[in-house]
Subunit: 626 residues, 2 copies
C-alpha cells in the first residue's frame, strides 16, 4: 500500500512538514495549496526537496467551486485551472483534486456539469494533468461519491477520475459496498480520515474533528476493503483536519499518522480475509474462487498479538521513596526485597506486584514510571510495536537476568511486554531479595486498573497506540466534572477485563493553580472492608470522603443502615448497577501518585464513575489547603 498524507494534517512550515513526513516513512504527500502559497520555497525548490527526501508529490489540492456555474464563471475557472496546471508542471505533479462546488454552483444539471468537467479534463490533458473529482459531503448539488462517479463516467475522459474520501462518505452514512463497482482506473486518489461520531453540522465536524484511522469510530477497514476489491492500487493518503494536530509537534504527529496507516493496512487485510472466508464457506464455487482471489494492492501485515492477559507489574519512582514504601506497607503489601543488581524494590500483594524504583533523578516526586503487561510472546509483541513505530526503551540487565522488551507510550510511560504465566507468577521476581517465594498472608490481589494522565496534544495518539500495539479496545468515553474543569476519561481494556487502562485528559492547568491532576494504580481485593480496616490499623491516610456524599448515597440507593455506617466509617465509596456492586477507597497522594483499592461484586464492570467527582473535589481541596 502506498502511504500518503496531506500537509494540512500537520503543524509548521511546508519544509518542516515535508521533513517530518520523510522521517515518519511516508511514500508521498498531498500539497495543500495554502502551504505552498505561504512558503518562501519556489515550486522548483519544493520539487527538489521532495526528490531529495524520497517523497512523492502525489496530489495538489484543493481546486474549489468549478462545476455547475454560469458561462462567465466557467471561463474564469478554466483560466484559474490553467494557472494551477502550469504551477503543477513546475512542481512535477500530475494529479489535482477538484472538489464538488459549494459556493458558486447556480445550475443543478448533470449534463451541464459533465460538459464543464469535460472542458476541464481536456485542458488538463493538454498539460498532462489528471483531475480527481471528489464529492464533498456538503457539496451544494454533488455530495455523494456515486453521483461524482456517474459524472466521471459520463465525461469518459482519460484525464478525469474520482477521489474517494472516507470522511465525505462515512460522515453521510453512504453505503460503501458500491465502491467495488467503480472502475479502478477511474479512482485517481483515495483519502482516509477517521472521526468520532458527533452530531453536528458536517462541515464543522470535518474541519475540526477528523482524526487518524483507529482514533475515531468510522468503519475504515471495511471502507478500505471495498477500495481494495475495486482493484485500486494508488496512494492511500491521510487528510485529517484536526485542531489539536495543527498545534502539536510536527514530527510526533507524522509518526502518529504513519502508525494509523500501518494499522489500517493490517485491519483492512483482516477484514478482507474475514469476508472472503465467509464467502468461501457459504457460497457457490464461483464465489469460493472469488474468496480466494488476490487483489492487486498488496497489504502488508504485522506480527500478531492477542490482548494482554493481565498486568505483570506497575513501577513507581521517586528520588525519596519513603512515602511510597509507607503507603504500600499500610495497604498490606509485603516488601520482597531489593533487586540483586539494581536499586529497585519489589512489593507484592497476591499477584499485584509494585516495583519501587530508587534510581530516579534528584527532586523527582513520586510518579508512575512503567507498566508491565503479560503477553503471549514478548518478542513478537515488541516486533509489532516497533513496526508500529513505537519508540523502544531499554534497561540495563546483567547476563543472567530477564530481558524486558520495552516501548515508550505517548505520555512517556514505559510499557514492558512480559512473559505471562498460567499461575500468575513472574520469573523475574527471583532476582529480588532472597529469591524465595515465602508463604504470604491469605490476602490475594491483582492490579485492577491504572489511571494515566495524558497531555492534551497526545490523547488521540494514545488511543491508537494502545489499540494498535497492545490490542486494547477503546470504550465510550466519559466526562467527569472536577473543580478545575471537565476531565475526559477514556477506558482502554481487554475484552475479558484482565487489563484496564484509564486515559484521562486533564483540563489545561492555570499557571496560578496547583496541579490538581494525578495518576493512580488500583488493586482489586476480595474483601475491601477487611482490607480497609487493616489499612486503618496500620495508620493509612485515607482520602477523606465528605459526609454529604453518604447522605446522597443513601437517597440514591436506599442502603442498609449498618452497611452505610461501615462505608462512612472507613471512607469507602460505593456504586451499583444492574450487574453488580463496586466498593473502593483512595489513599492520600504522594508526588503525583496515589493508590486505590477496589472490590468488584457480581459482574460490575465500571469504575465508580459517579464517585469520580468526589475524588477530584477532595483532592483539589487538599492541594489548595496545602
Amino acid at each position: 500500500m502506498r502511504t500518503g498524507i496531506a500537509t494540512v494534517c500537520l503543524s509548521g512550515t511546508l519544509k518542516e512538514k515535508m521533513q517530518a513526513c520523510a522521517i515518519a516513512g511516508f511514500d508521498g504527500i498531498e500539497i495543500f495549496e495554502q502551504d505552498l502559497v505561504t512558503s518562501p520555497l519556489s515550486p522548483e525548490d519544493i520539487r527538489k526537496m521532495a526528490a531529495d527526501l524520497g517523497l512523492g508529490l502525489d496530489l495538489y489540492q484543493p481546486f474549489r467551486d468549478f462545476d455547475g456555474v454560469t458561462p462567465d464563471l466557467l471561463k474564469a475557472n478554466l483560466k484559474r485551472a490553467e494557472a494551477k496546471f502550469k504551477l503543477m508542471a513546475r512542481l512535477g505533479m500530475d494529479t489535482i483534486l477538484v472538489c464538488s462546488n459549494v459556493a458558486t454552483a447556480t445550475i443543478d444539471d448533470d449534463q451541464l456539469r459533465a460538459e464543464q468537467l469535460a472542458l476541464l479534463a481536456a485542458l488538463a490533458g493538454d498539460h498532462g494533468v489528471k483531475v480527481a473529482y471528489e464529492a464533498l459531503a456538503w457539496g451544494k448539488h454533488v455530495n455523494d461519491y456515486e453521483h461524482a462517479y456517474r459524472l466521471v463516467e459520463a465525461v469518459d475522459h482519460p484525464n478525469l477520475g474520482t477521489c474517494l474520501d472516507s470522511f465525505h462518505i462515512l460522515s453521510r452514512d453512504w453505503d460503501t459496498a458500491p465502491i467495488e463497482d467503480i472502475n479502478a482506473d477511474k479512482i485517481f486518489f483515495v483519502q482516509v480520515a477517521d472521526a468520532p461520531k458527533l452530531s453536528m453540522d458536517v462541515l464543522s465536524w470535518s474541519r475540526h474533528y477528523r482524526v487518524f484511522p483507529g482514533e475515531g469510530q468510522f468503519e475504515l477497514a471495511k471502507f478500505m476493503g471495498h477500495v481494495v476489491r475495486a482493484g485500486y492500487t494508488g496512494p492511500v493518503s491521510l487528510e485529517v483536519f484536526n485542531d489539536v494536530f495543527r498545534q502539536s509537534d510536527v514530527e510526533r504527529t507524522a509518526v502518529d499518522a504513519m502508525r494509523s496507516l500501518i494499522w489500517l493496512e493490517e485491519q483492512s487485510a483482516k477484514w478482507l480475509a474475514g469476508t472472503s472466508a465467509e464467502t468461501a464457506a457459504a457460497g457457490t464455487s464461483e464465489q469460493k474462487a472469488a474468496g480466494r482471489r488476490r487483489y492487486p494492492m498488496e497489504l502488508a501485515t504485522l506480527p500478531k498479538v492477542n490482548e494482554p492477559a493481565g498486568f505483570n507489574f506497575a513501577e513507581v519512582k521517586a528520588d525519596d521513596t519513603a512515602q511510597l514504601e509507607k503507603l504500600l506497607g499500610q495497604l498490606g503489601f509485603e516488601f520482597e526485597g531489593r533487586h540483586r543488581t539494581k536499586d529497585v524494590q519489589l512489593w507484592t500483594m497476591g499477584q499485584a506486584r509494585v516495583i519501587i524504583n530508587e534510581q530516579a533523578a534528584l527532586h523527582t516526586e513520586p510518579a508512575i514510571a512503567a507498566l508491565g503487561f503479560d503477553v503471549d510472546s514478548p518478542v513478537i509483541a515488541s516486533a509489532r510495536a516497533q513496526q508500529l513505530k513505537a519508540p523502544v526503551v531499554s534497561r540495563k540487565v546483567q547476563a543472567d537476568e530477564e530481558v524486558f522488551q520495552g516501548i515508550s507510550a505517548p505520555d512517556s510511560t514505559e510499557i514492558f511486554l512480559c512473559q505471562g504465566s498460567p499461575d500468575g507468577t513472574a520469573a523475574w521476581t527471583q532476582e529480588f531479595g532472597e529469591g524465595l517465594e515465602h508463604p504470604r498472608a491469605a490476602q490475594t490481589a491483582v492490579i485492577d486498573h491504572v489511571n494515566l494522565a495524558q497531555p492534551w496534544q497526545h490523547f488521540d495518539e494514545a488511543v491508537l497506540f494502545y489499540t494498535s500495539a497492545l490490542a486494547l479496545e477503546p470504550q465510550p468515553f466519559a466526562e467527569v466534572p472536577s473543580p478545575s474543569g471537565l476531565v475526559r476519561s477514556q477506558v482502554m481494556q481487554a475484552s475479558n477485563g484482565a487489563v484496564r487502562l484509564v486515559l484521562n485528559l486533564a483540563p489545561v492547568q492555570q499557571a496560578s493553580a496547583p496541579k490538581t491532576y494525578q495518576e493512580h494504580i488500583a488493586f482489586a481485593v476480595d474483601d475491601l472492608v477487611a482490607t480497609a480496616r487493616s489499612a486503618r490499623e496500620r495508620g493509612l491516610e485515607f482520602l477523606q470522603i465528605p459526609a454529604n456524599y453518604y447522605e446522597d448515597l443513601d437517597a440514591r440507593f436506599d442502603l442498609e443502615p449498618g452497611f452505610l455506617a461501615t462505608l462512612k466509617e472507613l471512607n469507602l465509596l460505593y456504586d451499583r448497577d444492574a450487574n453488580g456492586e463496586f466498593l473502593h477507597f483512595y489513599t492520600a497522594t504522594v508526588g503525583s501518585v496515589f493508590f486505590e483499592m477496589v472490590e468488584r461484586r457480581g459482574n460490575y464492570d465500571g469504575y465508580g464513575a459517579p464517585n469520580a467527582p468526589v475524588r477530584h473535589a477532595v483532592q483539589y481541596d487538599s492541594l489548595h489547603r496545602a
Copy 2:
C-alpha cells in the same frame, strides 16, 4: 432585578465559588447538587456561610427523572425527593428544580405526569418546599416550556410552579411571546444563559458551550422582556455550563458573570421601552396604556454611551524603545517630543497618534500597552464601565494635565476613555514637546484597527467587555490557519467602522515552540504605494511576502501586470470583494508588536482575511529561523 448564579458555572470548591459570588455582588446562588455532595462543609456550615456572605440560597438543583414513571419508580423517586427536602430544610432553602424526565420516563401521558407531579407537590408542601418544574430541551416527552406550564396548571398546587431557562427555550427556537401569558405566581425561577448558534446536538451544545448573556447570539433581551411583562419578580439566575469557565479563575469568572446580568438588565429595559413605544405609537388607547405600564420587576439602568467615534491614541511600551522609534520613523511618523513631566514620547502621522512609553520595567519587550477611544463624555463612559465592574486604572497626572479615565480590559490592555473633538485633534498633545501644532507633510492617517491577542480563558469575557463598556458590536468570527494552529479571530467594531478591534484567540503554545503570536496596530493611509515607497527609502524592514503568493493572487484576481509587479516589489498584500479593494503591508516584529499600513478603496470593510495565513506563516518562519 434579583441576580443569581448557579455554582456549576464556576471553577473551584463550593466555598471558593460562594466567596467569589459574594465579591462579585450577586444577590443569590443556585446550589448545584454535585458541589454540595463533594464539599466537606455540612449543610449547616453552608447555610451560615451564605448568611455571612449576604448570599441568598435561591435554588437547589437538579432533581432529575421524576415524572412519567412506573409506580415502583415513583415510590423510589418520592423517597429520594423527601431526602432532598430534608436536606434543603437544613440548608434553609425553599425552592428545588425538577427537570423533565430524560432517562426513566416510560409512560407518555400528561394526566399521569400531572398526578405524579401532584404527589411531589403535596410532599413538597409538607416540607415547605416549592418545586420548579422545567422542560429540558432534550426531555424525553416534555421539552417545551409551554408543555411544562400546562402540567403545572393542571396540577394547580401552590407548591408547584415552573422554571424558565433561556437555553432550553431559545436552543429549540420556541416562540418566547407566550411567556407573557404565564401566571407570574407560577414562575418559580428564571435561568438565563446565552450561546453561540451552533449546529450540533442540543445536549452537547448545552453542556459545553453555554456562555454568559452578551457573549453569544441568543435574543436574551427579548426573552427577559417577556418574562418581565409576565409580571415575574424573582431571581434571574445564570446557569452556564462552559468548559472554559470551569477551568478559569473563579473570581474573574464571577465578575464576568455579574457584568453579563447588569448588561442584560439594561438591554431588557431597552427592549421593553422600544416595544412599548411601538405599541403606544401604533395601537389603540388600551394598548397605549399598556405601553406606558410599569412592570413589577425593577430594572436598573446604566449611564449611557454611544459607540466610540475613533481611536484617540495607541500606546506601546518597552524598556528599550529604540526599535519602536526606528519603525515609526521609517513608516513616516513624526516625533512630536517628550511629555513635559513623564517619560513618554508622542509620534504622529495625521490623526494617528502613538505614544511610546519609556517607563516600562527592565526587560520589558516592546508591546501594546494601552488604547485611547474618543467618547462623548469620558466621565459618563467611565461611570458606566465601573458599574459594569471594569477594573479602574489610573495614571499620575500633574495639576494642569488632562485626566484620563482608564479601565483595564480582560487581557490587561489599558483602555482610556478620551474626549473626542470634531476635528480629530487631542488637547493632551499640548503637553508634549513644544506644545505646537507645527505644519506636517500632507500625509494623513488614522488608526484603522488594532489587533489584540486574548488569553483563551478570557476570550468570551473580552467580547462582553467591549460590547457592554464600549458599545462595540461583535461581528461573525473567522478562523485563520497558522503554522501553529487555527487562530480564532473576532472583530468588534463601531457601526460606522471608525473603531475596529480584532480579538485573536491564539492556539495554546507548545512549551518547545517559539511564541508565534503577536499584536499589532494598523494605520490607514490614502496612498499605500507611496507610503510603502517612502518607507522603503527610509530603510523599513517589511514582512517579506513569498513569490508564490503573487502567483496565486494573479490566478485568483487576474490583475493588471504592472500593478501586480508593484505589489510584489513592495511586499504589498491585496484583497478585493464586491465593495472595494484593500492594500496592506506589515513591518517586521519587535518584541510582541508589529505595525500594518492599509489603504481601503471603495467600501471595502474587511481586513484582508485571505492574506492572514500568509502573514502568520511568514512570521512563524522568521521566528523559527531566529
